[in-house]
Amino acid sequence: MNLDNVIDGIKTWARVNSPWAIHFNSGSCNGCDIEILATLTPRYDLERFGIKLQGSPRHADILICTGPVTRQARERLIRIYEQMPEPKFVVAVGACALSGGTFRGCYNIMGGINEVIPVDAYIPGCPPRPEAIIDGVVKLLTSIQSPAPVENAPARVEETA
């Protein structure tokens, strides 16, 4: 029993300290994408936390998504999500990825990542500063480390007409 706990502990430790990410642009304006890229560069250097940007969904633990999910990108987004091995987490970055942002109401968008795949962390901003992205990722990692008292299935924010 105890051994199991220890092993679980080690697994969680490794998971928290080695989050490899893949980035997908589902129709964003690039603003968020360049800020994500900026987090890897010397000033912010996410490698400090063991985060590496991977090219192949098979190697990734975290899917970092931007954009309001255009109809064409939807299939791809789902496919990439499915290609990722368990356990996997999704981070939505930017106002568009959260709710459609300025593009709300445009005819060709789904209006947010969580309309298509489940999201684990939300980072608002247009775009969020690189520090804010780090903040969001750290919040996600902290929650993996010590799962909060289950607030599962986050209730939808109600829509107003």
């Binding site: 912010y44 250097d45 709710s99 962390a121 939300y122 996600l140 109600e158």
Partner: protein, 143 residues
């Protein structure tokens, strides 16, 4: 023609401190003009809804409970806001202001992104109405 023309950078980087900032362990002061979370001040608001009208991403609902008694609730969708400050420019009464240091808004649930400003009892009225009537309880009044 040279090989490895950046060797000087590489060597000096070895002896110098890395350019990396230690966020989140050390938090630097954000620039003075940074646009982050929006704040609303009831005092002068007339409930005219101009802010909501010009918001490009539908992030503001001005809920008018009672125009005469100036009972307004200001509902702000952080997840939709593009931090463009147009609402601040549009408000004729200067009720709106964007903080410059509240940019750590990330959250694990979208619930946190619905922010209500207003008198406590008014907000409660709105929340109660929303809870009892489902999604469409609070109609946005823009005029």
């Amino acid at each position: 023609m040279r090989l490895g023309s950046m060797w000087r950078d590489a060597l000096s980087a070895l002896v110098r401190e890395p350019a990396t900032q230690q966020y989140p362990f050390e938090r630097l002061q954000a620039p003075e003009h940074l646009r982050s979370k929006l704040h609303w001040d009831l005092t002068n608001c007339t409930g005219c809804g101009l802010c909501a009208k010009d918001c490009p991403s539908d992030a503001i609902d001005v809920i008018v409970l009672d125009k005469k008694a100036r009972k307004f609730v200001f509902r702000y969708h952080v997840d939709r806001c593009t931090f463009c400050s147009q609402c601040v420019m549009s408000c004729p009464k200067k009720c709106l202001e964007m903080a410059n240091d509240e940019w750590e808004l990330a959250s694990l649930t979208p619930d946190d992104f619905l922010v209500y400003y207003g008198n406590e009892e008014d907000v409660e009225t709105v929340l109660a109405a929303a809870a009892s009537n489902g999604a469409d309880a609070s109609s946005t009044d823009t005029e």
